[in-house]
Symmetry: D2
Subunit: 429 residues, 4 copies
Amino acid sequence: MPQRNYRDPLHNIISLDESLPDDRLIVDLIDCAEFQRLRRIKQLGLAMLTYQGAEHSRFTHSLGVMHLMTRALGLLSAQCKITSQARITGRAGALLHDLGHGPFSHVMEKVFNFHHEDWSRRIILDESTEVNQVLRAHDKTLPKQTGGLFDHSYKPDYIAQLVSSQLDCDRMDYLLRDSLMTGAKYGVYDLEWVLHTLRIDELNDRIYVEAKGLYAVEEYLHARYYMFRQVYFHRTLRSAEAVLVAALTRARHLMIDGKLNFYLGSAIEKMMAGSEVTTQEYLSLDDTDVTFFMKQWMDEPDPVLSDLCRRFVHRKLFKAADFVLSAEQAQALVDDARAGAEQEGFDPNYYVIVDRAADVPFYGYYSPAEADARKLIYVENPRGGISEISEVSEVVRAMRGYRIDRICYPVELSAVVTAALSKFDNAPS
Amino acid sequence: MPQRNYRDPLHNIISLDESLPDDRLIVDLIDCAEFQRLRRIKQLGLAMLTYQGAEHSRFTHSLGVMHLMTRALGLLSAQCKITSQARITGRAGALLHDLGHGPFSHVMEKVFNFHHEDWSRRIILDESTEVNQVLRAHDKTLPKQTGGLFDHSYKPDYIAQLVSSQLDCDRMDYLLRDSLMTGAKYGVYDLEWVLHTLRIDELNDRIYVEAKGLYAVEEYLHARYYMFRQVYFHRTLRSAEAVLVAALTRARHLMIDGKLNFYLGSAIEKMMAGSEVTTQEYLSLDDTDVTFFMKQWMDEPDPVLSDLCRRFVHRKLFKAADFVLSAEQAQALVDDARAGAEQEGFDPNYYVIVDRAADVPFYGYYSPAEADARKLIYVENPRGGISEISEVSEVVRAMRGYRIDRICYPVELSAVVTAALSKFDNAPS
Amino acid sequence: MPQRNYRDPLHNIISLDESLPDDRLIVDLIDCAEFQRLRRIKQLGLAMLTYQGAEHSRFTHSLGVMHLMTRALGLLSAQCKITSQARITGRAGALLHDLGHGPFSHVMEKVFNFHHEDWSRRIILDESTEVNQVLRAHDKTLPKQTGGLFDHSYKPDYIAQLVSSQLDCDRMDYLLRDSLMTGAKYGVYDLEWVLHTLRIDELNDRIYVEAKGLYAVEEYLHARYYMFRQVYFHRTLRSAEAVLVAALTRARHLMIDGKLNFYLGSAIEKMMAGSEVTTQEYLSLDDTDVTFFMKQWMDEPDPVLSDLCRRFVHRKLFKAADFVLSAEQAQALVDDARAGAEQEGFDPNYYVIVDRAADVPFYGYYSPAEADARKLIYVENPRGGISEISEVSEVVRAMRGYRIDRICYPVELSAVVTAALSKFDNAPS
Amino acid sequence: MPQRNYRDPLHNIISLDESLPDDRLIVDLIDCAEFQRLRRIKQLGLAMLTYQGAEHSRFTHSLGVMHLMTRALGLLSAQCKITSQARITGRAGALLHDLGHGPFSHVMEKVFNFHHEDWSRRIILDESTEVNQVLRAHDKTLPKQTGGLFDHSYKPDYIAQLVSSQLDCDRMDYLLRDSLMTGAKYGVYDLEWVLHTLRIDELNDRIYVEAKGLYAVEEYLHARYYMFRQVYFHRTLRSAEAVLVAALTRARHLMIDGKLNFYLGSAIEKMMAGSEVTTQEYLSLDDTDVTFFMKQWMDEPDPVLSDLCRRFVHRKLFKAADFVLSAEQAQALVDDARAGAEQEGFDPNYYVIVDRAADVPFYGYYSPAEADARKLIYVENPRGGISEISEVSEVVRAMRGYRIDRICYPVELSAVVTAALSKFDNAPS
């Protein structure tokens, strides 16, 4: 029995039996260059600058998602027939869902304006990639099927829901993993109970949770809520991203103006220039490139770029202050802070950065109003029917998001920002 | 009470109270550029290619060592007066002990022939570094004192033993941390019991362990033994290092011959050229640079270099076979394999690599014969005296190292190596 | 350094240094017969009939509460002077707070109508007990001081709050411990962060939590909420208590009528007869006696008593159905069920039992309206002042209790109860 | 899908699907009175007097053993056909293996001279028991088959080995569980790796472990070794057993002489009188009875009995001193101590107790010489064959048992015993 056993800090052993064709496919996908690349992309981007233990990669997380998918499908199969085609598509999709991430997971998306999900699909469908070839060798239709999970064109949809919805294997893994690695205990919930109470509603082609699992799902949503507030939207993390975004934006402008000394005829150059990149070019980029350039650019002659890079590399990050103001007030505040920054000799385009909770990729709140109905969470209600969870749970209804705005700035501008905030009776917090 | 709380996957909260001068010093040292650099050096080098979770950095580990040192000193202070000077020196030394590590922790030491401990001392003593300045600002003599821990010139020596000996805070942290992160459970031992049974033998200026802690120390040595065999000397990890060392060596030779296209006027160039580097140049290097160059060199014209880099980046590593032979037999085997490789068109200098257990930095065996007496482990014996542990414990005496030799080679040479081994009745394992 | 180290599944090592007078006192208190008795009283009463792992005793829990008290006082002492008298009183109180519990923790309180807190005070103040003698030997006033913690006559009150309030060391320990032992993960919260953010408001003599601890306290309250619903108010646990209460009540009536064959001239006899018991008599009772009598009474001639005891000993417990009805409807339902039971030959006084959430000792909801202001939870608000937590946290406001009523009955009466419930459109759940 | 989910502190969820006949049988067996009785027998007897957390019962452990058996059989089935008959026999045997334990697990065996394994078989085979009836209802031959596991008459023998051998599900569960509950970390080993490397050697009808599992089995044997020394043979635990054995023996002698006031016409009376007991009588006994009698006998007129019971109930246990002497010397020492005790007015038959490591039921050492070959541990050797583990592992060969003798005595006899020991140059330790 040739086995591939991956040891995992969260799931202990992730075991694949290479004598089974499906497990063999998963092993071959793991060995593809595009999947190995995920070792070089940190799961939580710059979070390790706040929670130093958060150094884990998308590779590790993706293995975990596949493992949870395998377990969920195994448990669900005891109550409902799931075709072997659906099973392997779901497992491949779970493994490959993050393939399209760029350096530091979400930072590049903001600067270069793309969505990693689109890249994940493109990499799977592009015949030049190893993953495409491996999928095709197993079953010609598999690249298209797997890609279909990401735009919900695949049927049955409950497989897609397990890969991507408000209660999917992706979130189930990352809440626990990020909690373990950050050392913050907020993301812990009762995974085993959630898995054991998952059910398939065949009539409506959706996943739901048995009545006795309601409390565990409420706890899972609490876990998300706290992880969002304490980790994913942490001030230091978000200010680190602000510095990195500012530096990349500055470098881009300098390059376009022909004033950047050091760069390469590489994918990053093309992306900065706004040119199209090929799949292979896109895949050549990972955290290493961005970190390497930030280190090199500390020596660029442009004082703004070198200053921003130094702050980033040596972790002298921006400060951040939260405020809750009307749209007009917020604009007035920002105008005020920008004017003050200019007076102090700081270019406000790079040194006064506004950040909004809703911009955070791991947005923490579950809201039935905002999402696609297929992605909501359904539970068995006391009458034996199936309802969207906020109809059943007062606790879920109470967990509402609210608008947090935030202003990021270098410590040298503390007086300026404090003065601006004080006009609106907001102390920096 | 201004607090700096670091959350840690292993120790939970590492709390520093900035109103206390000593804690304030530790905070300032953490914020130094040289310490922040450790975020970019993986604790276990290439182990994440075998145990994918092993992505943690020297930064995280070093905080943990400082934390254990603080705890150990707190517990020991209840039984013996330790001066405040000794306490802060010990804590600073624990924090900074790994400052001199190069990219991927140990790989560069082998290629460029240096010891990281020497660099740690040099960085602490060099007045151009931030850590030196911060130490001096606290107490002019502190750089010298702290540096003295690494060559055991500092007195009392028991402080140095807590930083660096066979039972030090460094190993106490890394066994548990590496165990947690790899997901291999072999490194777990009873840390709390070890800490609670540590004692100071003032007469002989050394650390020892109370009689009732003997079992916990035996277990700690077992943990080392298994971690060595299952993690630190894992075939895949060691073969990954072989590939990286081969690639760097090839690049070096190409550069000296003027045949390397892409490199920079940087520290790595100087090191490859064999020139002296300044402290700042040395510090500019971390994992990022090496990974970046490996990725770039995949496109070099030299077929050996580009092939080795491709194997490294896409994780198509060498295979490895263990053998137990006499020195002459081993030489004959290697000669045989090298000749076979040459015939198959592989340059044996880069494709047939010999690896020895004793070369592994985390050498797993405790041996009273080999080490400096100040670094051995002492325990209270049944008669109330203090003995070196192997005099008291049959279990420790039984844990002897033995010579493992290993040959690493690309999969294309499997037939060649199998044939060579078979002459000595050794099957590849 | 003579040490007493208790190993604990939750806190690992609880270390006491017998060379320190305060620790020596704690050791001596632990060794008292009254404290050793707590080994024979299960922390969660009959919960082990639902969560089989919940077999831990009040002894183990009480050690944990003392340990948390020691840690909390240590952390608080860094910011505020706490007298050594207050420290030892707090620690003794934390250790001894459960001394007055009777068999199966809360069951006897219901049958014999007393409060364990009153017995805890009485045992501490009664000069015939070993704990009283040990406390007095340390400091003549200590029994009175320690007793004063339980009726909040002790000053400073913040010490009493750490022993008994909505955020006390008692709850901090039991949520985590009960969670670990039951295997239900609902009670997990971030203990370390709560401890590290506790503060003393000296002006108002109360404990509060720093702003950055708000989320951890919210999570702690969620933990209570879920543990209440999933463990403390679990249907099987409550129905087991119903059976035990019914059996004890029956035995009492039989004894008074002279129809009970087997009993002893012991404390339990006096309590059943409604006579006063001495402190020593009260202390002679623990879980053993009740279990022993239940086993013996299986052979009593009275068919009701022997039947109830058999159900209890062999775990053939009652069923339970929840309902939400107006007071009149509830009364009508119960009357209906009782009439049906009678028709089926079951005495409704012993076979139709009504249970209410508010009767549960570990009542799960935090409600600012219901409690003594000194026992509420206070947090630093965004303006730097101190507020009661529900003023600051929407999440806490949303966690409201609601009225759950429940009817417990033997499986033989299922049809009767289902019919009764159906009149009110309530299915048994 | 009607599920029975048991939450477990060690294994998290133990899930049984009542729609499957095999799982249904297990559920029915759990609900039997004889299995429920195991809730009232502590797994580690009196160990909770040393490690206060060790309050778990045989019930909880037995569920865990059944769970591990189910998992092991599931993993082994992937490589080798195991009949459904063998599977259910193995699972039932794993669940029921401890049915025959008496009060405090092993103490009664010593006083009344029986083996719990014999009682386990008898309870399964006796047609009056609920477990017998449930087994028979499933399959008429099942009681005999299941009973056959305990005397190794069942075939295939590898099923019996999983229930009872040097590497069985019983030990796999209890090492981890006892480690968790005592808080001593010595029993932790890599369970998942052991389970994943178990194999069946069909030719020789035995269980073995793949080569890559060798280290995990070595670690498992180390775990046993340390648990034996630190927990199962702990001086306080063994001295508590000495006190209990002495008290029971005294009570027996008094009863036979007609001098015991309080006892019952119960099983314990018959056992004390040396009469045969029926299965039902045997089953009526558990920890409760013994504890209850110990509490009552504190008031007996016989000073020896009341004194011993007081020491037991209030945990004023005996002291214990280890010695290593020849058989003659040991006899001389004991004679000496007994004479001294008599002189001090203590009856040496109850106050001078000799204890030997080899008498401990969980004897910690793995010794190929002493055991039945079918119960030894087999591993794949480097040549691909299968060897008994000590032939392959030097580490295992080094873990030899040695003779520890011990003398237990009340603190009042300390001077006497110290004097006796000093003649042989043995200090009490």
